[in-house]
């Protein structure tokens, strides 16, 4: 146990990844694979009247064409949507003639080759009876829910707002966004060793055993979800996809392995996305900038048929010491597929609106935006009155301001000018994300040869979870990372939680750590003496046993053993941010420098400085990468990304990577990252909070505030584009 707390080690699976040997779902070598292609609905709502598959059947190589008539027995169970786990009637395409959103699959063509499947899919003729619809919340047939999803209040915020010296009352609009992990979501279903294996890039392999088995009327033990490497998730792979059960059922009916790689144009319509939302923010402050009142009302789009609660209001009251607060969040139902969690799902849009409003307040009060935030720092939650398990937000702000040289900022917009005439703007914003955990089941095996094997709950989708597991095993057991086999993302090795919500590290680090400590204890029992400084496998070898295995169930703070059973069934169950004795959040401060070209109004983000308080940093190198990635997402949100719907047609018009503009290399300048790196042992024995999501929270607002500082334009919608600043 001599390792430094913040180790800077190579990512443990980087070797496989740079060699191209990491096998993602669509890469699995499976004999006799059939290829599938979906036929997307070309109406936004209505019924299928007839499907003519004659021409498609005649395409050489086509094996079979499935329609809703083949799949009417598929059950839409509460668990069907996997991670969402929220009440709703659900909608599984192709189980009835009903079409509920544009682009949903209406037929599945299976063929010997991909080329034949595609040709077959193009040849399927579908006759629809379209029905009136609305795909945006402003449109005529959109249906606002009567009851808010969430209401939080503390004190009489209306009265405090009315009496405040300085008042800000603004509305911000956040667009629809799409995750677009570069791995296309593919599903391969194959019978292997008497079980039906589902290879799908997922953050929730147990959803297949739990959800898919229920939909297909199978015993969960006959299904195995396999996703050792997920090619980016960002929340889009949190649950079963619209395609998953269709491919699995096709494989079952054909008794052949079937693979479907969903084209990106269709994924914009079948997979989840971040819904559009509106945010009214009212802030009231006294002459010294003390926050007397915060009032925050939000509304977001949702599908007609699923639960996906509007949750924008959860974090903003916890950012600062509001004397009073009032918030409510509502949904409006429209004719689209169900939105879902996308990186910092509500925290990002909420931080965008509220942290931009803070910038407006700072100007109204005449205070520096960093000073305004420091003046309203708090160590307890205004809503529950509970203390925070740890909060170093002020430290993030101070260190970030120093690294960024914030003191050069001039409050008057446009006062800083670059040598080439560009306007320079500097902006700041903060973010938070709940400190959350879930259950894990971990088996750790040490071999006398020095090899070490661990199977646990969790998925790798780029956040570096293998490096986190390795860090704890290296620290406690001194194992050689090159001799470490880590089995994750596979229900054949361990039940798999949904790896999302930044609870992966907070769950798996304590799991690996406690398994390693238990293994030391048992080894000590075997050797009959306290362990020496010698490598543990050498001490094990001396006992003449080839290996030693321990299994540990970890139950997060505030939960009981029942959570292990939920984990086994693939039912999400997580903790936080509220715990019996405290509230737990990760915190971050972002500083952004933008240069705005005067003539063409192009905005370039030259530098971002981000300082995070995520508890203990498990691996400096991968943690920095994760924060940089969150910042790139913030820049994308601020200046690039929007899914666009033509209200006459529904669906997403810009459904490819040329038209849905995500940042490219040339868009990204310097991103300097630092950490407070103070462990939070109140939350777990590893002292970690989460990082992947908080990294993004506030980043877009910092850019938007910088754009204001450069141009004097308050643009209250995203993305900010050239036409907003010309």
């Amino acid at each position: 146990m001599t390792q430094e707390r913040t180790a800077d080690r190579p990512r443990v699976d980087a070797y496989e990844k740079v060699l191209g040997r990491a096998l993602y779902a669509a890469d699995q070598p499976i004999a006799g694979l059939l290829h599938a292609m979906t036929v997307p609905a070309t109406i936004a709502k209505g019924r299928i009247e007839a499907i003519d598959a004659t021409a498609a059947q005649n395409v050489r190589g086509v094996v079979r064409i499935f329609t809703h008539e083949d799949f009417s027995q598929i059950k839409t169970t509460p668990a069907a949507r996997g991670a969402y786990g929220q009440p709703g009637k659900g909608h599984q395409p192709m189980t009835s003639p009903v079409v509920r959103h544009r682009g949903e699959p209406v037929a599945l063509v299976v063929a010997d080759t991909l080329e034949a499947a595609i040709e077959g899919a193009e040849a399927v003729k579908v006759r629809y009876a379209p029905e009136p619809f609305s795909a945006r919340m402003e449109d005529e047939l959109a249906s606002p829910e009567a009851q808010p999803d969430r209401q939080l209040s503390s004190g009489d915020a209306e009265a405090a707002f009315a009496a405040a010296d300085h008042r800000i009352d603004v509305e911000y609009l956040h667009p629809q966004q799409h995750h677009n992990p570069i791995e296309l979501i593919s599903t391969t279903a194959a019978f292997e060793d008497g079980e039906l294996r589902i290879y799908e890039g997922t953050q929730a392999a147990s959803a297949f055993a739990g959800g898919l088995a229920g939909m297909m009327g199978l015993e969960p033990t006959r299904l195995r979800g396999v996703s050792p490497y997920t090619g980016g998730g960002f929340g889009q792979k949190n649950g079963i996809q619209e395609q998953s059960v269709l491919v699995a059922s096709a494989a079952a009916l054909l008794r052949r392995p079937v693979k479907l790689v969903m084209p990106r144009g269709q994924l914009f319509h079948t997979a989840s996305y971040r819904p559009r939302s509106r945010h009214r923010v009212r802030l009231g402050a006294d002459g010294q900038g003390r926050l007397l009142a915060g009032l925050y009302e939000t509304v977001q789009q949702n599908s007609r048929y699923d639960g996906f609660a509007c949750d924008h209001g959860a974090n903003p009251p916890r950012m600062y010491g509001y004397h009073t607060w009032q918030g409510n969040d509502r949904i409006v139902r429209v004719d689209t597929q169900t939105p879902g969690h996308q990186r910092a799902p509500h925290e990002h849009p909420a931080s965008y609106a509220t942290e931009c409003a803070m910038d407006e307040l700072a100007e109204a009060v005449g205070m520096d935006p960093v000073e305004l935030r420091l003046a309203n720092d708090a160590q307890s939650d205004p809503i529950t009155g509970k203390p925070y398990s740890s909060r170093h937000l002020a430290g993030c702000l101070r260190r970030g301001a120093e690294m960024f040289d914030w003191s050069r900022r001039i409050a008057d917009p446009g006062a800083l000018v670059a040598d080439n005439g560009d306007l320079i703007g500097l902006g700041v914003a903060c973010g938070s994300y709940k400190g959350s955990m879930t259950a894990t089941v971990t088996t750790l095996r040490l071999f006398a040869s020095g090899r070490c094997e661990i199977a646990t709950s969790g998925h790798e989708m780029g956040q570096g979870i293998r490096s986190v597991i390795a860090a704890e095993l290296i620290e406690i057991l001194g194992v050689d990372p090159a001799k470490l086999d880590i089995h994750i993302g596979d229900t054949g090795h361990a039940p798999q939680h949904i790896t999302a919500g930044s609870w992966g590290t907070g769950s798996v680090a304590p799991a690996a750590r406690s398994a390693a400590m238990k293994l030391r204890e048992e080894l000590s029992v075997l050797t009959g003496a306290p362990l020496s400084e010698e490598p543990v496998h050498v001490q094990l070898a001396r006992t003449r046993r080839p290996s030693l295995e321990v299994t540990v169930n970890t139950i997060p703070l505030g939960k009981d053993a029942q959570i292990i059973e939920q984990l086994r069934r693939g039912i999400p169950s997580t903790t936080g941010p509220e715990y019996p004795d405290f509230m737990a959040f990760s915190w971050i401060a972002h500083f952004a420098e933008v240069h705005v070209e005067r003539s063409t109004a192009r905005v370039r983000v030259k530098r971002v400085v981000s300082v995070a308080d995520c508890g203990r940093v498990m691996n400096r190198r991968t943690a920095e990468s994760q924060v940089r990635g969150g910042v790139v997402w913030g820049i994308g949100a601020a200046l690039r990304e929007a899914g666009e719907t033509d209200p006459r047609f529904g669906g997403v018009l810009n459904n490819d990577l040329a038209e849905y503009v995500v940042p490219v290399n040339a868009d990204i300048g310097a991103i300097d990252v630092d950490f407070i790196d103070q462990p939070d042992f109140k939350l777990n024995m590893s002292g970690v909070k989460g990082l992947g999501e908080v990294a993004m929270v506030g980043a877009a607002a910092a850019v938007v505030n910088a754009v204001y500082n450069a141009t004097g334009r308050r643009i209250r919608h995203l993305p900010i584009r050239i036409e907003d600043l010309l």
């Binding site: 699976d13 191209g20 080759t113 570069i182 392995p257 190198r621 940089r628 490219v664």
Partner: protein, 208 residues
């Protein structure tokens, strides 16, 4: 357990599964191509091909390869679905992301927008073909050193593009690298590391 779905599926015994597997194996294994000896021409096993086929003879990672393939198939689908070379990835299938980047005749191209038929007589290099026998290509090592990746899905394409970027002479400044690496989207946002990795590896790679 009375619905048709179940009756179709549940009676499936282990024996039947194995039988199905046997039949399937006879029609060809996709993974055999990588196991061929260096001196042999890899001929495609009898995978089914539909539509009109074309005969292609080319070199893939230095190895002579011959295949009859559907004339509309992409080079990417030939590599992945016929030759078992799955390092090149499908991220968009329309030349919009760069995950499928491989080299033809030493130049980087998008294999998803290249007809397989076009590589007849050409030399194709994929991520599987760049390392030396005794280890990593300097660009691969640099990607590890600078953590120029996260999920790893775009990484083979990034590395193939990065090697070409250096050979083309487009890696002399960070600005040049950013511009000439913009055809490879990294949704995880590892761009800072990618630029640093290319700066590190560039001096070790010969200009073309």
């Amino acid at each position: 357990m009375t619905d048709p779905q179940d009756t179709q599926f549940l009676p499936l015994t282990r024996r039947q599964v194995l039988e199905a597997g046997t039949v399937v194996s006879a029609s060809g294994m996709i993974s055999t191509a990588t196991a061929q000896a260096q001196t042999q021409v890899t001929t495609s096993p009898s995978l089914p091909e539909n539509g009109t086929t074309v005969h292609i003879a080319c070199r893939v990672n230095g190895q002579p390869t011959a295949i009859d393939i559907d004339a509309r198939a992409s080079l990417l689908d030939m590599l992945r679905e016929r030759l078992g070379l799955v390092g090149a990835k499908k991220g968009c299938d329309h030349g919009q992301c760069g995950a499928c980047t491989v080299h033809i005749g030493g130049r980087r191209i998008a294999s998803c927008l290249t007809l397989a038929a076009k590589v007849n007589g050409r030399e194709v290099t994929t991520i599987e073909g760049i390392g030396s026998a005794d280890g990593l290509h300097p660009m691969q090592q640099a990607f590890i050193d600078h953590d120029a990746l996260q999920c790893g899905y775009c990484t083979p394409g990034q590395i193939m593009a990065a090697i070409a970027c250096v050979k083309e002479g487009h890696a002399s400044t960070p600005e040049d690298i950013r511009e000439y690496m913009s055809g490879n989207i990294c949704r995880c946002g590892a761009y800072v590391g990618i630029v640093a990795a290319i700066e590190q590896a560039a001096p070790q790679i010969e200009r073309g």
